[in-house]
């Protein structure tokens, strides 16, 4: 297990390193930040002066060496727009992103999994049809549209929830539902499929014949064995949600990392783009590692490898 973990850690470090190199060079290939950041009435001479003052005219190798030297110390430099620590800006927005991602995931899991189990335990019934219908709709409806419709109905028409910003649970409801909807749909479908498989196993029949109630049979015994594919789905999507759900954050003006990243990219804020790329790759790699560990916990066979 230790060897396995160490191997996975090594792979992760390599992955993050490659992402950083790619991002550094690709960002500079798309254009000149000086022109973009200076007022549009500036003369060519003033743009040149700005470029020199900011160090954009130095050879890329020099800029990269400096970048790497500071990155290993956790210093990604100052955001060109905000004039404060790039990494600090991400850390500032992290609670908002975490809140939304966790809430969205919990919503998807707490609604999607029981719905899938319901469908699997009553196959071909009206519940099954309902669950499959919900699952399809949840995956098919575009998040942007769902978000705006929710705003129109719940905020403008009914006046129940605030439209924009982050200010307590009421402001979390709509973004959470919109973000979690897609995952909910996929989770319902997957849970149903996996449970159908498991429910026909001998040990489930044994559990029933022992006199255990459906709760214990389905949740404690069956679900445990069905869990691995579900954990994979949850892990992958959680990593994605944490990386920053730009669309949801834009529609609801949620102050998370996603919007920060989009802004940094459009404004060619190099230090911030690099910091965000590092953050996103770190998140994905960590969540994948955690998912692998979860397998070990759920399935002893994996541990023994």
């Amino acid at each position: 297990m230790t060897a396995y973990l160490l191997g996975r850690l090594g792979q992760s470090v390599l992955a993050v390193g490659c992402v950083l190199i790619l991002v550094f060079f690709m960002v500079r290939l798309t254009g000149d930040p000086a022109v973009l950041m200076v007022s549009r009435d500036a003369t060519a001479a003033e743009v040149d002066a700005f470029r020199t003052a900011m160090g954009f005219d130095r050879p890329w190798a020099v800029q990269f060496a400096e970048f790497l030297g500071r990155a290993v110390r956790g210093d990604f430099g100052r955001s060109l727009q905000y004039q404060s620590s790039a990494w600090g800006l991400i850390v500032e927005r992290l609670p908002a992103t975490l809140e939304l991602a966790v809430a969205g995931l919990l919503f998807a899991v707490l609604v999607g999994v029981p719905l899938g189990i319901l469908a699997a335990t009553r196959p071909n019934s009206v519940w099954d049809a309902l669950a499959q219908g919900v699952s399809l709709l949840a995956q098919a409806l575009p998040a942007y549209w769902v978000g705006l419709v929710l705003i129109i109905v719940l905020s403008v028409k009914l006046g129940l929830l605030p439209v924009a910003g982050r200010s307590g649970f009421a402001s979390l409801v709509m973004p959470m539902v919109t973000l979690g909807l897609g995952v909910l749909g996929r989770l319902t479908q997957l849970t149903r499929a996996v449970m159908l498989d498991v429910l026909h196993q001998d040990y489930v029949r044994t559990a029933h014949s022992k006199g255990l109630g459906p709760g214990a049979v389905h949740y404690r015994h069956a679900l445990g064995n069905a869990a691995i594919p579900l954990v994979t789905l949850i892990g992958v999507n959680f990593g994605y949600m944490l990386g920053g759900a730009v669309l949801i954050e834009s529609v609801f003006s949620w102050p998370g990392v996603g919007r920060l990243a989009a802004q940094a990219i459009f404004q060619r804020d190099f230090p911030l783009v690099q910091a965000v790329a590092f953050f996103a790759s770190l998140v994905v790699v960590t969540v994948n590692l955690a998912t692998d560990l979860a397998y070990g916990l759920l399935n002893p066979a994996v541990r023994r490898q």
Binding site: S39, Q83, S155, V156, S253
Partner: protein, 511 residues
Amino acid sequence: MKRRHVRLVVALAVLALGGTLREASAQPRGTLTIGIPTDVTTLDPTMSPEVNSLNVAFSVMEPLLYLDPAGNVKPLLAESWQVVNDTTYLFKLRRGVTFHNGEPFTGKAVETSWKRSQEKQRANRQPFGSIGRIEHVDDYTIRIVTEKPDPTFLKKMANVAAAIFPPKFLAEQGDEGATQRPVGTGPFVFAEWVKGDHATFKANPKYYLPGVPKVQTLVWRFIPESAARVAALQTGQVDIALRIPPQQVAPLERDPNLKVSSALSTRTYYIAFNNLTTGKGTPIVDPRVRIAMNLGTDIQGIIKSIYAGNAQRVNSLIGNVQFGYDPTLLPMPYDPAKAKQLLAEAGVPSGFKVGLACPSGAYTNDKEACQAIAGSLQQIGIEVDVQIMESNHFWDLEAKKQLPPLFFDGVGDRYQDPDEPMKGILTPDSNWTAFDKKEFTDMIAKGGSTVDPEQRKKTYAQLARAMQADPPFIFLWQVKNFEGVRKRVQGYTTRPNESMGHLPFDVSVTD
């Protein structure tokens, strides 16, 4: 009524009246929330040329002068001033003003702020390019000498990019302090900034003008998505919503709790002709071809179909709301027959093919406008190849003069004066210029080299006519800018240049 009762009633009446009078003596009350369309990245006015960030900074910081709704320059931190000659100004500064951190406001603060604003890495150093030197006559009197005559100098000094910072604060907290926790002399004091969400300011109890500001708390909410911004206005989460797309105005006009406010934006749109690089050797070098393209574009029709009539034609690149605009010069007419005739004279009777670059999402309906213009030109035989690009990439190529011979863009201006925008798009040393003609460069220089308004008006009228005779652009339009305001807000007006400097002086809320 018994006499005792009469006395009681009179006493109560007097108390009630006194109470009302005290209320009317303008204590700041209530909270005003404004929904803005961009994510503010800095509260330091020297580092952000974007108008919304500048407006937020305006809550806290002040320049020496102030522009009233009619565009006249009024005193603010400068009590009075004297234009000594074409290049010299004498300012008498207001006494007894302190910054929010207790530092005194003096001529020294003015000099420190301006020296800082002129540093090479300041994105917004443009307004100070013309200052040559500052002389201190005494603590509260300064003399400013500009390098050459600058007709917009006073207007520049009324822009928040010329705001005054406290010197000790700058020395101790530097750029980071100025960006994150600004301190100024303004009617509001900085309270908090939750990035990506909102910024809050509280009324300054020690502000030097009585009755200002009129609201106790000012909140700026960042809502980039326009549908969400409109929804927030409808639910009352914001009291004022800026930059409402024209298609979303109708339901707001029907809402009894809202009023829609609009003003013609100072941003003027055009199709630029390139005679410097990619346009060389193509038919557009001939002025007759360019006149033909102006006559062959059905601009009024496009305004009706794409902008639902919410735009106004311009007769040249000097816009309707700018100083020096000549209303006696009519916009070039729509005359496709004459256009075809001119093309024949120029040797291209059956038209020609030309590329037109267009930014995507930078301006309202930019793509649609480009395609409509191409459609119009098609009717006179010109085959326009519309190339739509992501806006930052587009501006990058524009600055490098690598765009096709035609491109669509807009030029804004902060001071409602043609000097800066004309220099920015029609003189050879600007990045954004694609057309060079000495006659234009000379006239623009002439307009900018004197402070005499009558002389300048004459020069700009001449320039407008010269531009129609040998067009460097297809002259398009200025678009109406819509804003939504809830009924509880009093005294708010939309400014053509989107400036909100008047907010603390004019705007109050009922309830």
